[in-house]
Amino acid sequence: MMKSKKWNIVLALLLMGTFTVQAQITGKPNFGKIAIIDATIHTVTEGTIQNGVITLNGEKIEYVGTDHSIVTNDYTIIDATGKHIFPGFMDSGTSLGLVEVNAVPVTVDNREVGNMNPNMLAFTAFNPHSASIPVTRVSGVTHVITAPQGGLVSGQAALMDLWGYSPDSMAIDATAGMVLNWPSAQSRGWGPRNPEQAEKRYKEAVRNLDKWLDNARFYEQMMNEYEADPMGKTKPEKNQQLQAMRALVQGETPLIIAVSGEKDILNAIEWSSHEDNSSLNIIFAGVEEGWRVAEKIAEAGIPCLVSTLYTPVRSYDHIHRPYENPAALMKAGVKVAIMTGEVENVRNLPFNAGYAAAYGMGIEEAIKAVTINPAEIFGISDRLGSLEIGKQANLFISSGDPFEPLSQIEQVFIKGYQIPMDSRHTQLFEEFLDRDATQE
């Protein structure tokens, strides 16, 4: 008996060895009643508290304030004197967990074959054991929108937290947004080169999109009627694609429109103003030329997901344009969330926001753009995005300004779990800093 158990362990270890590619090797989290005291607490929605106290009880924030007397003996106390506490940051545009090694096609699960894939769920392909997940979360990024790519409609993005062993336990919203790649009407180097051809191609794509939405609305109506009263009716045939679009046409699932150029942004605004589309809950993503038409985006009331660390899109653009785009949108009245568009380097989200802060947005607004703004845009601000009593306990302790690379992110909490602060990167550091040392 003993012997076979032992062999089971050996076998398990061998199997682990085989699958280290996917292993997320970290320690165990602390969970329960935790009090962090004497830090500067940046609540985001309710000001900044000096020498504050924040207590976590299970998955939720139990108290935020200055009353130290509420911290009783049964709390694990973390002294954070001189430190800063922020809500966990959220990246509104990634393919984290869908792609492991981009150059190795068998590890790339964010791009399905086909032009219309509303039924493809990022949630399904999300690998909770991706090596990139611990690397990301120890930087203070606790939540991501992870999105599929390609085609006209790529599929549905999921809003995931970054602690757990199954997509089910990590999903805040498995259908957080339908990704639409806005068909460009611009002539491109790699696309149609004359404007008429580009316009024709654009119109065809939009006609196709409108047709799909019409079908989805019809399907939704038909299904609603059947579901309300199936008596005496033939059950309509189920169509996976149209079924997946029901929540979209109801306005429950947002439509994330990836759009970049001025002309395309204007087209997308015009399209979204059609009466047929009034039920859609539209978000723009990318929006590199948003600054050119910021007022119009604001007028349309469409929130934007943008990054800052890319080269100016036109050779004659000002050098700082990518850094300044979020501020330009914000100042026009657009609700802005900062994203990276990354896979393995989602950890650079604070730096994307830092550049936005330095170039017109200011630190306070840039903090919002990675916390409460994305939470509001994706309709989950009752649970995420700020340090308030009753919200999910997602937060981190930083030695200083979290946008500064010179600061250290010292401890991360995700839904109340005190996360082990290790990742492949820290583990390799520990192993190799003094490689040839022997035990003393």
């Binding site: 790519q149 150029g261 890319y310 080269t311 004659y316 700082h320 730096f351 330095a358 500064e404 800093l433």
Partner: protein, 460 residues
Amino acid sequence: MKNTITTLLILAVFSIGTIAQEKGSVLIQNATLMTITDGIIENGDVLIVDGVITAIGTDLSAPSGVSVVDGTGKYVMPGIIDAHSHLNTVSTNEARNPVTAEVTMEESINPNSVSIYRALAGGVTSIHLMHGSANVIGGQGETLKLRYGVTQDEMRFDGAKRTIKFALGENPTRVHGQGNGIQPRTRMGVEQIIRSHFDEAIDYRIKREAYLAAKEAYEGDKRGRTAPPVPVAKNLRYDVLNDIIDGEILVHCHSYRADEILMLMRVFNDYGIRNYTFQHANEAFKVAPEIAKNGAYTSVFADWWAYKFEVYYSTAYNATILNENGVTNSINSDSNELIRHLNHEAAKTVRYGETSEADALKMITINPAKQLGIDEMVGSLEIGKQGDVAIWSGHPLSIYSKVEHTYVDGKKYFDLYMDPVDMRIAVDSEDSYTEAGFNTFIQGREEDSCMSDVFELIQQ
């Protein structure tokens, strides 16, 4: 448009024969000086006269005619040097043979690329313009000064060491083995390509020298008793390989995995090659003691990893581990985006492993200068060095700091406060139909820039 062409033609005609760089003079007063090699000087002055730093101290006065810049509250540091760039190449890869030592970036400089200006705006003054990584032995590099608005030749860094690009691992095996069905298909093949070419080059030199000696004897033999020797043709490729063996060319080797780094050090020890730099070197941290022992250098990304398999088992703590093990390391961009904020990339070495701020700054100044053989001329604020400096609004490692002025040879090439929107020198005809190079939402990367233009070539 016609005017632009005429101007360029005139410039081109003028540049032939006489390469006279424009140099400037300036006195920067009362700033925090990050000297790099001699600590930080508070409230210090730097005087540049005719392109050379002539004085560093306090209360310096400007010689007549020299403009004065008030540096109160500002930071002055030497211009950033990027040891790995494809910023303004015309072409990057001569990807049709595993060994193309004879090609040079000297013939592939686009002096009009607006990317040059964008890099200046990030405080960069010199770059190492490199061949790509399609070939095991690619082409020779060119060290440039970012004198925006001059000709190809005038951009070249006078006195810089000659360099050459080598490449190991996935890129050459993919392009040649997988793509063209020839060696190398494996890391075994990569080693043998290098060894066999050095052996051939050595044999060639013996034969060529013997032939030249015989030819001289034959031509000097007035009585006609000597038989004419069989000619051994000049071979540029082998000549370059022999120059590497002779130490006249510094090797910069694209590499990722620890084992291939060890392989190249073994090979170079066998051929007596010294003073080389491992580029990218994501797994260099695994063999840091061996790299230090061999006196090799490394030039790495701050945090890129996992985009291809050979960088999957790597860490952003690479630079710190190398530095702590005594390896002279630089942080490079290999990207027209990262080159705009190499200060920020260097700052990441403080985040990842708590490298000191002083060492972090060395990784984008004096360390890359050593790797390019230009450290006697640039890379620190020292009297006698060239006047390549940038004035920063705050500490250069802070994300909130901006470059206010960038000087090359004492001449100002970037000014934050006189910064027009459109800084193109020549209008690219591509702009008329390529409206913009858009990113749109999720990007991800599967390549370093070292592979640019390879697959277009293969597809043709």
